[in-house]
Symmetry: D2
Subunit: 303 residues, 4 copies
């Protein structure tokens, strides 16, 4: 038995035309670009998808249209992270109705739950979910870590099928990976920060949920495959390419929003989709856009 | 001209019978208890009201019923803090339709906005609001402070009418209070932590938004009035009474949820309302409930 | 029985001519200025005194010369905070030999000790101290809080005589003050941040250890006395004066060093002492110095 | 040109008999054990060496005796991290007099320096150092990161020869490694957390400064060599062995001190040296010691 999800599953950006208005044509191009790039799945409504900033109406619309465009060619995992269990559960049911394969949740993120409270939260959520659940460790934004005890419990729940770790803490990743190895060979361990993708795969991870794969999916798939096959030389080459690109592309803006802004701006420059962002963020100004254009040109990554 | 809101405006707990079900009879008793206790307003859907944990449907129901019960006897300020501007704005419009007096927002709390982003967020939110806005500084849960530059800008916006500060940082409170003093004598400065209520009023604050005032409103009103009239002897007596009570009542549970759990449990013991809590929290177990009962009995605060 | 130390006990800056060289004439003027201003004691080698940045040789020299200049006119409390218990104990013995009245220690600040470890640390330190000890809560710099359990234990130790709290958390201050009230009326509760001096004294604190009292000791003594006698009107006036001054004086520089730099620069402009600072800090550049001069002139506080 | 330091350079524990008393015989056995295990150098007075907890007298004694025992067989790098530049510089001169090869400093750790202040600090320190300097990034304990700007400056300083990174943030490690690659091929990049040793070497790091190498030096040297030669299979085996051991050995105690306590206790059980610890820590109690003994026995790592 092997991990259910393996490979690159990009946390899809949400193409918007304006506030609360989806860029449908852009969405189709984003999805086709990723599928053409060899991704192993698509993950809408994650952090890169600005999910918490979107209205529930738009989230539903996005799930529905993503599902229609993908048409089963790759699995879809939908983020349902919320502060309200009722809303999380409703979104999960709607996602299931649209044929989505799995849902993904982080910890509820207004009140920082104690670990026993977090476990109870998951215990209450599970029966509401018609499809499998993947956990999403994102303490920088949720204030709450899925600690070892929770993961040990989760490994015993058939309905929970893996962990996406965006903590940036590779020691945590490896520790949790070890816990599941023998009892749950079907669990998928996916890593968030693209700068750690190579290492995570080399050390037994199953894939990456990397924002940059919205932009250059093939590059991330190449790194994944090099690492999976143990080709160190290629891992170094592709890692360096990603590092060189992302270290420039994500540092044009200030604040934590720089990464999503950089990706959306680059996609807009490449003619893929609009770069409108949901509040509290906004698209880059012209001067920043020019710097992104210059970076893209200099790196000339084939899509 | 004086501050619009002065006195105790309790952050109302949300009485629940079970998940997504309001305890209507309890709600009425909670509200009547507060009004009888002399409060200057009621603030549903704040942190103590577990707002982020509630479904939007329930939030609307709560606003509607609160409004019907209060019937204009005191002002109602409704929390609209959200991660999605679209949802915040919708809730504000609904609140206005139900005759609410003002809305209250903290920073969007999944993505930590940079200060310029936070200001743009407010600039976009203001035109959507049919009623005045109060800011709510709650960095421990939102990760974002309303820093001096934002407050200086907000003082220039007629539509923004004050600041509720739950940071626990009295230096911040005094600093912001000084900024508004001369240009905006109508601004209300309300303090969150009840352990600082006396000091905040003595130093020019206008009122308190204190969780414990759900339980013993008169005690908080007494402290407010003593402080407002500069009666130091009485300030010390009432402060000590609140401190003695709250330091026990809020430390029965572990984790940050101990305060809300303690208040709801005490209200339940007093026959006011049910103590069901929205996920990720849950009501106290029997042993904790017995400790709360013992504390209540020992302190014997007249409601 | 009343608290041993009451009033303003400035955390004395360390006047330096250059690296590892005391400004002796400046030291004398600083001390005489404080004593003339009515201070109730002097606290060399605290945070404002840049103690951790000084060589041990200089620390000894400073204690010796401070002791000679003060000549018993006011008590001297010497900071012995260190990462090494052996060095702390040695400094305490030397301080006692020079006739110092008490020593002050925060938590050891490289390794963050668990609370039981912190208690054992104090248990090992006490027998090494020939004079009484005051605790100093400074978690922003030491990473470790003296939590309630430690304070409860400390109240039982005759040799420990009080707490200086620089956390800025007035709820903590009030909570610890309540614990000692009845068993140890001799304990002194001194507050660090000068912006909270008035409130802390009004609520039962015994004094302040405020950096600004190096500069304008009389102003802080005035506030202390107004608060002690319950004169709210005067408390507001003096508080506002301190706030107005400090909010400008301490915000000329960036980084946490802005406060000490501001005080030393102002003292230098007033002809009291040199403003050389120990590494990793350095005195203000000319442009910053001019801003400090302008602030001093505008406020024209009589020394 | 290649990196000056390559391989495993254990951060040597400081064997103590009691407070301020070196365990000389233990020291000799610890050093011989490491050299026999194939280490590429020895690093006394780091975090694992409890340096900040030791008196200066003992630090000098330790340098002298370490130097005598090592007799030039491997390089010695001595930690001089301090809050006082004067004391750091003095220790560096003494270390140079004893024939030490290089010194290592983290940021001064009481006052958190701004980045320009940190750079000035290093600029002032460099002329005082008779031997080369390695930087040591340890933000969890010093509160200050050596950010990119500092590292870029440091790469231009001939006297600075590398970076030891104990942040646990492999993205930071890789980012800094990239900066130095071309201008300073002689720079050494050493990684702290042993759980990341394999990955760090695979991705271009030059060695590890890993606490566990006090105990089982050969195991860490084996992992280093496997990673250096790109033998992924062996990297996984040795990584797993280290992970399995350390995840148990370092989690017997609570608090951050658990790692050093675990290593010293294990060395004591193996008859290598005493496990006395400097305040604020203390050796394990008997029950914890028994658990360490059980773990050692179960893993049966050959030294």
């Amino acid at each position: 038995m092997t991990a259910t999800y393996q490979g690159i599953i990009p946390p899809m950006i949400t193409p918007l035309l304006e506030r609360d208005t989806l860029d449908e044509a852009g969405l189709e191009r984003v999805i086709e670009r990723m599928i053409a790039g060899g991704v192993a799945g698509i993950f809408p409504l994650g952090t890169t998808g600005e999910a918490p900033s979107l209205s529930y109406r738009l989230r539903r619309e996005l799930i529905e249209k993503t599902s229609r465009i993908v048409k089963g060619r790759v699995p879809i995992l939908v983020g349902i992270t919320d502060t309200s269990l009722v809303e999380s559960a409703r979104l999960a049911r709607e996602a299931a109705d649209f044929g989505v394969d799995a849902v993904v949740t982080s910890a509820p993120f207004y009140f920082p739950a104690g670990q026993p409270e977090l476990r109870e939260y998951l215990e209450q959520l599970l029966p509401e979910l018609p499809i499998p659940l993947m956990l999403y460790n994102m303490p920088a934004l949720t204030k709450t870590v899925f600690q070892q005890g929770i993961i040990e419990w989760a490994i015993d729940q058939e309905q929970i099928i893996g962990l996406k770790d965006s903590s940036g803490d590779l020691v945590y990743f490896k520790k949790m990976r070890r816990l599941a190895a023998s009892p749950r060979p079907d669990w998928s361990f996916l890593v968030g920060p693209e700068e750690l993708l190579g290492e995570a795969i080399l050390m037994g991870g199953h894939g990456g949920v990397n924002g940059g794969a919205n932009l250059f999916p093939r590059l991330y798939v190449d790194l994944y495959e090099a690492a999976k096959s143990g080709n160190l030389e290629q891992v170094r080459i592709f890692s360096e390419r990603i590092f060189a690109l992302s270290s420039e592309l994500y540092s044009v803006g200030k604040y934590g929003s720089a990464i999503i802004k950089g990706i959306k701006c680059a996609l807009s420059l490449l003619g893929v989709c609009d770069d409108f962002m949901a509040a509290p963020f906004h698209r880059f100004h012209e001067s920043e856009r020019e710097r992104i254009a210059e970076i893209l040109e200099r790196h000339a990554v084939p899509s």
